[in-house]
Amino acid sequence: MFRKDKPITLKGSTSFLCNNLSVYVMPEKKQLNYAVVHKSVVNIACATTDGTSVTGRQVACKEPSAAQGLPFVMQSKWVILPSRTVLVLTTHRGIQIYEPDGSAMIYWHALSDSMDKSNYGKGICGAGDNLICVGTESGAILVFEIPPKGTNVTLFDTVKGHKSPITDLAAEGEFMVSADDLGTIMVWRCSGSKFSQVSCVRGCGWPCNSVAVWKDVVVGGFSSGHIRVYNAASGTLGAEVTAHARSINAVHVACESGMLLTVSDDTFLKIWQLKTGAAPQIEHRYSECVTDLQLVGGNFVDKQGRAVCITGYDSNEIQFFIKG
């Protein structure tokens, strides 16, 4: 169902971090951008849609207090808001917001300045017209308001509910979904300016490394190898899949087709089809073993889900699979 296509070579290897691949499509410029974390650097590959040229760039993460050494980047992700697109980086000490090409830093937020206590940021998503949510090790979700232009970013709200470190955030329409280290998933409704909790599914100790939301379906990828599919409004479990033999490190949904991809330590990329409903369902569609690669990032390139890109630990390639 999928065939392998030509890979893109990055300027450095991929770090072992969950959700370590972000894609930003610029149709008007016929450009595809990919961001992958390498230790304290984010490698950005910028390709033309016809695949004829690829240029590489690096965003080196610097922090004002240079005395503490280079920070480790935990995640990098483009957030596409109706008014503006930005590149968000989280480190083990703070949050940084850049222009989409990584050229200029717009905002910097410190989470910890202590040497022996970390408070990392992990989990990034956009919400509403002009909000960006970032999860933290303390369990709090910080909500920033982004102006259409300029650097006047403000901390707008702090959403509390999780008791352990946030692992991932996702949002679509009115829903924002948060997951944590103990596997707990919470669904929030974002109405204008306030986040109110809609549903909560308690975890059982295995981290939920990656979440996705599509229409009224919430998908969690767990480090036990399970996929679980819930109804967003009620939190009802529709299906549970024994999907992978090792930790699932990333899930992603193609928003126009409801196709789901999962990647794992077990070297497999798997493709599924979601179905909405009070008890949402999932079907297995495709499996591909990527030889000797522990997969840490995966994304559909397009909204239909015709092309898939993945990254793996210690490899400096983004690999592609095209539906055919």
Binding site: G12, S13, S15, F16, H38, K39, S40, V41, G69, L70, F72, M74, H92, M115, D116, K117, S118, Y120, S164, P165, T167, D180, D181, L182, G205, W206, P207, N209, S223, S224, G225, H226, L237, G238, A239, E240, V241, T242, A243, H244, A245, R246, S247, D266, T267, F268, A278, A279, Q281, I282, E283, H284, S287, C289, T291, D292, L293, Q294, Y313, D314
Partner: protein, 370 residues
């Protein structure tokens, strides 16, 4: 990044060092009481109370350079001396062995079981000395106190931190190549199938629930033949760790080789902490370690060789600078490998020779084709 990673990195690298030294001490027919003294002295220094207390405080990992210096000192804490080429090789072997164990660990929590395997072996090495055994037992307790209660999520972060330390290290180790667990490009072979992490399920079932909560199972191809594990490894002092990772893979009859030096020197890419920062904490620990080792040097010193014989060691020492200088050329060759099937066939033949032979020539060959 987890601030609880340093003790695990140090203890496991130390454990691997002990395996290699023990094997070489026997292979070189060092008299038993001397060999015993070396192992005792090193373990005693490694597990010095004050040094361990410093190590277990929450902190970032040392840079690669600082970690290497710590082990340089540690290896020379007794009457044994290693020259630069042997020390390089020792450190390469230690790091690749632990990288392998962390990479292949079924679940992040297994890292504590790997550590306990190393601890068990080190305790056996110092069985004869009550004081050193007492030190080892103290470290057991520190490990259990610090790590036994951590969540899966915290272990996952520890594993990610360790893998970040080992990122871009691709040294080829003959024992791994022969066992077919490493490829010629220095990467580990990850065969799907086999044992699953404790507490997880065999892939291949969709449990589908309807609105009333009744379920039905739908099967799909799980991808490989997996086996669920029913017993969890034990954290007890003499418990069954239920993993082979972290146990001794060397024997006197099985010499170890490395080839194709790490590209880490040329791949710093601004991502590493190495170049930029002096690493104040690591420096303080190093000073402490120097004090501990002190000037307790005796006339009984002897030299240990990590190579088959002195000639090979000298060759290795003379080859390295050239190899480092040409590492970029080597990289280009590796990418060509994919395009030209003929070239890859030739390279395949070269590496076949390298895997089977144990002469000095094959080492040279493998250096060139890495």
């Amino acid at each position: 990044m987890s601030l609880k990673t340093l003790p695990l990195l140090f203890i496991n690298l130390g454990g691997e060092m002990m395996y290699i030294l023990d094997q070489r001490l026997r292979a070189q027919n060092i008299p038993q009481e001397k060999a015993k003294k070396v192992l005792n002295d090193i373990v005693a220094t490694m597990f010095n109370k004050r040094f361990m207390e410093e190590l277990f405080k929450p902190q970032a990992l040392y840079s690669k350079k600082a970690m290497r210096t710590v082990f340089d000192r540690l290896a020379h804490a007794s009457i044994m001396r290693l020259n630069a080429a042997s020390m390089d090789k020792l450190y390469d072997l230690m790091t690749m062995a632990f990288k392998y164990q962390v990479s292949l660990a079924l679940r992040p929590k297994d890292i504590i079981l790997i550590t306990l395997n190393h601890m068990d072996a080190m305790r056996a090495y110092v069985e004869g000395s009550t004081t050193v055994r007492g030190q080892v037992d103290t470290v057991y307790k520190m490990l259990i106190d610090t790590y036994a209660s951590l969540s899966n999520g915290e272990f996952q972060l520890i594993r990610q931190t360790l893998l970040s330390f080992f990122q871009d290290m691709h040294i080829r180790v003959s024992i791994f190549l022969k066992d077919k667990v490493q490829n010629n490009n220095g990467r580990f072979i990850l065969t799907p199938g086999g044992n699953l992490p404790f507490g997880t399920e065999v892939p291949g079932v969709i449990r589908s629930y309807d609105a009333s909560g009744t379920s039905r199972n739908i099967g799909f191809q799980g991808g490989a033949a997996y086996v669920a594990v029913t017993r969890e490894g034990s954290f007890d002092a003499k418990g069954d760790r239920s993993t082979r990772l972290g146990t001794n893979m060397y024997s006197a009859a099985r010499p170890v080789e490395t080839s194709g030096h790490s590209t880490s020197k040329s791949v710093m890419q601004g991502g590493d902490m190495d170049t930029s920062n002096p690493d104040p904490l690591a420096k303080a620990h190093l000073d402490l370690l120097s004090q501990l080792i002190g000037a307790d040097v005796t006339k009984n010193e002897f030299r240990l060789n990590l190579f088959q014989n002195d000639q090979e060691e000298e060759e290795a020492a003379s080859i390295q600078p050239i190899e480092t200088a040409e590492s970029k050329v080597v990289n280009i060759d590796a990418s060509k490998k994919k395009q030209s099937s003929e070239l890859s066939k030739i390279m395949g033949e070269m590496t076949l020779e390298d895997g089977g032979a144990d002469g000095g020539d094959s080492d040279l060959l493998s250096l060139m084709d890495s």
